[in-house]
Symmetry: D2
Subunit: 139 residues, 4 copies
Amino acid sequence: MKNYVRKINYYETDQMHIVHHSNYIRYFEEARLFWMEESGLAYDKVEEMQLIIPVLFVNAKYLKPARYGDIIEIKTKITKFDGLKFEYSYEIYNQETHELLVTGTSGHAFLTPDMKPVRLKRAYPELFESINKIVDECI
Amino acid sequence: MKNYVRKINYYETDQMHIVHHSNYIRYFEEARLFWMEESGLAYDKVEEMQLIIPVLFVNAKYLKPARYGDIIEIKTKITKFDGLKFEYSYEIYNQETHELLVTGTSGHAFLTPDMKPVRLKRAYPELFESINKIVDECI
Amino acid sequence: MKNYVRKINYYETDQMHIVHHSNYIRYFEEARLFWMEESGLAYDKVEEMQLIIPVLFVNAKYLKPARYGDIIEIKTKITKFDGLKFEYSYEIYNQETHELLVTGTSGHAFLTPDMKPVRLKRAYPELFESINKIVDECI
Amino acid sequence: MKNYVRKINYYETDQMHIVHHSNYIRYFEEARLFWMEESGLAYDKVEEMQLIIPVLFVNAKYLKPARYGDIIEIKTKITKFDGLKFEYSYEIYNQETHELLVTGTSGHAFLTPDMKPVRLKRAYPELFESINKIVDECI
């Protein structure tokens, strides 16, 4: 799977002269949605199926700061999938120096628009199979 | 009408050590929605009426920067209303020093969810009258 | 210690019609800086001492969504302090319904501007004592 | 000059299901800094010269909304430069449909870190000449 690459924007810095820590949570999301799209699971198609995928938890560990103009590269992996919930892990690197800047994980579930959990295997067997296949390649 | 008051958050600064200029556009919105609510036109009620109020234009002039921890006070006025479109003006002050920091204007329209303009006078005469009354007091 | 209270802004929602999950990380920061100020440790004074307090980690668990217009109330506690590092815990409630929406923790260190750890007890004994006192009341 | 291209992120939408209008002001900045870098005036080099370039004003006209997943393309031009102040204009297009979504302008000045205007011609003749050359090609 390709890594997600992007540049740090000026407005993502704060007066500590580094990227504000909340923005990495957004970069996780960018990387996750890029990853889904690369896997053939574009999020807008999931929303067309009347499914939403809220975030259940997120963890981030900040090792070194990214700064304005840096190019970061994010490795994303799906680490768990049980048909109801799934988890991702992330590693954010400085693309030039190869330093590991931030690591993290996030948890998600497939829900109906009225926030009820969806058991994918029964409700969307094709989607279930395609995710399962991706996870197998991934783990 | 009461002014809208709020404190500058740390994450709203950038590496120039001042509030990032895009955030004042968000403060305009905060002040505008506060103003609507104070006028008895809470935005969630407008959305319940199946109306949306997109922004048609926004202008901002940056005179002096606000910084982390500053308390700002925003004067909001509705300056035009013709039943289809309306305009607001804003003045953002530093509450402690009374210095004028930012001025701006924004334009809006009432639209249906499929983005068609709504002539309020015919479609929502009560809403039309209540805005008209507010505007009269305002101008 | 007083809880931190604030209203959800329109621009903090996303197309899932709920607050984007990254914003709660910002609310944690707002609550933490409010808490520090209430404790007599305003962050701008800490920065005047040439100290910076980066975030080492952050964890958040999303239980229920907040929506535009909701008023949230954040309980903040300092849960660890060893003179080098310290940790906070957060609980975000819907003020009206008293439902618990989000819980979280964050870790921090006092660093010099060139990112070296500061042993507060030796370098800033007064600051060390005042934090220690707050922690004692807290735990 | 190459146009600046980027994809809309999920967290940039709001509950109106479109990009929040404040984000286009950030896209203007992204395009402007991209433009500067393409012109050989990378912003970090300007900051190394101890110059800051605050925003004096910004105007935006919203014609059509961008949505999550859209790819936008931004045409940027420098439209004025008198050695003290300069202005940019922007056009944001949907890359796929070629529709014009947003237009805007912004004004800037070169300042010293203590916010005093810098007359570039005298203080930084080389920078002055290189901007002048770019502007000539541009207008």
